[in-house]
Amino acid sequence: MSEREKILGRIREALKVKAPRPGSHGDPLVQAAAEPPVSHARDWLPSVGASVEEQFAMFARNAADLKAEFQLFAGRDELRAALVSLCAAEKWRRIASHGGELTDFACQAIGLPVTLTDRGYDVQAMEKCDAGITECDALIAQTGGVVVNSRGAGGRALSVLPPHHVVIARREQLVADLPAAFARLQSKYAPDFPSMISFITGPSRTGDIERILVLGAHGPKKLTILCL
């Protein structure tokens, strides 16, 4: 018998005895509700305003708490100007990015040499870049975080290897809360998901030394979210 069969066999044997449901006070007859328990998660998670304005305000507040930069722009000219001044302020010399409508615009605006990941890339070269510029799947008002994936955001490393991660997003990518973000990913990709989906909530951090917050433990020290 294979280990797989042995383990599954032990599990089936063990499950012959029913365990009481949580909160049933030991009564094995208490039945589960018909729908999945998390169906109402929205009602219990931190509340989010109904209007888009409220949600953007919440996203901005949460991002600031996480020490991420967030800016909302009225048009492409504003975005271009912001990228140019960011590049100058941070003294970037080289950036990494991927092909995409928004990232192409951003790279053009910045006008520095770019390591593009789309057709494979040299890891050492990316490591020397000052910033990684990506698109994203969603901004989440409830958490102030963004969602990226390995297919639409330049692979697995681009959003964590360079010391500064810049996300270029569109307004309509904002979702209210985590259940909405998961629903959006599921409807967009299932069953053919990108091999990596990452919820990024603020720049890399650690508290492993005396529980004191330090940014940029291994991933980016800075996270900038620019939204059109």
């Binding site: 998390v38 692979g155 809360d177 998901f193 291994h218």
Partner: protein, 464 residues
């Protein structure tokens, strides 16, 4: 007395007297308590969320066979190689074989308590492989050649000064004792290791049956890099980590972050559904997922305590536990310390050897109250005590309770016992705290209350 209990008592004695340790842990957890309470309050209903999380985990664990099969089918369909290991030794052997097949030398590892459980680093180092822990806290304790102090905060027992000295000694680089600068030292050391490692090793926080995904939660980005750069990726997964649906993460991710570290969300929550797929530009060419039983099915077979498999390893029960806070993580001598460790270790490593952990509790219930998935932790400690005394009763303890029950059931004996207590009080005072004192376990550090001549029952009888 087993060697495990005597070691526990010795270390507990040392740590409880160590007032500096008490202060370091208290300070570290104080800031956690403040942010945790704030984040919990931000939930519209933390209590309903807990109930839903408990029910979701119940569903997952009580249909574990079908969920595991669904998970594995989905993983394999996208090119992931799945391995099954009944024991820790088997899992270590499987992983070593993968490394040999890859002709790998260096392994970069992100934090995984499951790997601590099976002593993976030791097994791989025996075979000549170099294993580097990339999580900062794990890296620090690896340099000290000690196990993690806490399942979420591995190095919380160390001060910045101790870490500076350690980095100076081991890395020759420690410009100051500032946490910022010390973190940057580790960052520099680790960067090149990511770029050159042959294999990346990770643990897992959740496995999604519906979509065939492994979800990894971390703050530093080290697991992200571990799963991005090396050509081969290996993930070790305890079979109980299952969640039925993708959407379940919408609740579990913020709850894990809130209970574990007082964060709204952990910085990186990443779902992996395969190795590098066609059209993707990076990621490992091969991904091996090793499913580990290692006596989890024994715990599963105990329906009364099956909910202990709901554990999401957030560490909340450790943080609130007055025992953990006073004896510290290393005293337990187990991979999983604190209340959940005291509950599950007897199942994983044998009840008679580890029952003392269930006895070393005042049953205060702070753990149960803190648990985000509502594991009935302190009652399981009580059940472990019962199971231990049924399977192997302690002769004198049982005798003492038999005598006690005779005294308690016969008012004359009970009256006599009180009289004797009152009469021998001066004698007891004379030998207080010494070897002759039958109550010295108490009186060494505490006074006994003076016993009044008239008991309540005397008063009651007299007034009637």
């Amino acid at each position: 007395m087993s060697s495990f209990v005597s070691q526990f008592k010795t270390l507990a004695g040392e740590k409880t007297r160590d007032l500096r340790h008490r202060q370091v842990i208290r300070t570290a957890l104080r800031s956690y308590e403040v942010v945790r309470d704030k984040r919990k309050a931000a939930f519209q209903s933390w209590e309903f969320a807990r109930q839903a999380a408990a029910e979701t985990k119940w569903e997952a664990v009580n249909h574990l066979d079908t969920h595991l099969e669904a998970l594995v089918a989905k993983l394999e369909a996208r090119g992931t190689k799945v391995h099954w290991a009944s024991t820790g030794a088997q899992a270590c052997a499987i992983i070593a074989q993968i490394l040999r097949d890859q002709k790998a030398h260096s392994i970069i590892k992100s934090k995984a308590m499951t790997s601590e459980e099976i002593h993976l680093n030791h097994a791989l180092e025996q075979e000549g492989f170099t294993v580097v822990e990339s999580d900062l806290g794990e890296f620090i304790v690896q340099l000290r050649h000690e196990p993690p102090y806490h399942i979420v905060f591995p190095s919380m027992h160390l001060t910045r000064g101790e870490i500076q000295d350690l980095f100076q000694k081991e890395l020759g680089d420690a410009p100051s004792d500032s946490p910022e600068e010390l973190t940057m030292v580790a960052r520099r050391v680790m960067r090149q290791k990511y770029l050159t490692a042959d294999v990346g090793f990770t643990g897992a926080n959740f496995a999604i049956a519906e979509t065939g995904m492994i979800s990894i939660t971390e703050n530093e980005g080290n697991a992200r890099l571990t799963a991005a750069l090396p050509k081969t990726m290996i993930t070790l997964l305890g079979i109980e980590k299952i969640l039925p649906r993708f959407a379940d993460l919408a609740l579990f991710l913020p709850m894990l972050a809130t209970a574990g570290a007082g964060q709204p969300m952990t910085c990186y929550n990443t779902m992996y559904s395969g190795p590098r797929q066609p059209g993707e530009c990076d990621g490992p060419e091969a991904w091996h997922v090793v499913l580990l039983d290692n006596r989890r099915t024994e715990l599963l077979a105990d329906a009364e305590q099956r909910d202990a498999l709901h554990c999401i390893r957030c560490g909340a029960c450790l943080n609130v536990c007055p025992i953990f806070r006073n004896v510290g993580g290393h005293t337990y001598g187990t991979t999983y310390s604190g209340p959940v460790g005291s509950v599950i270790t007897p199942h994983l490593r044998g009840l008679q050897d580890w029952k003392h952990l269930s006895n070393a509790s005042s049953l205060c219930g702070a753990c149960t109250e803190a648990c985000p998935v509502k594991i009935d932790l302190h009652h399981h400690l009580l059940q472990n005590r019962r199971n231990a005394s049924v399977s192997e009763p302690a002769f004198f303890e049982r005798l003492a309770y038999k005598l006690f029950s005779i005294v308690a059931n016969e008012p004359k004996f009970w009256s006599l016992a009180k009289k004797l207590g009152w009469l021998t009080q001066p004698l007891q005072k004379a030998v207080k705290g010494s070897a002759l004192d039958p109550a010295k376990a108490w009186t060494k550090t505490r006074d006994l209350p003076p016993m009044p001549k008239e008991s309540f029952k005397d008063w009651w009888r007299n007034r009637k």
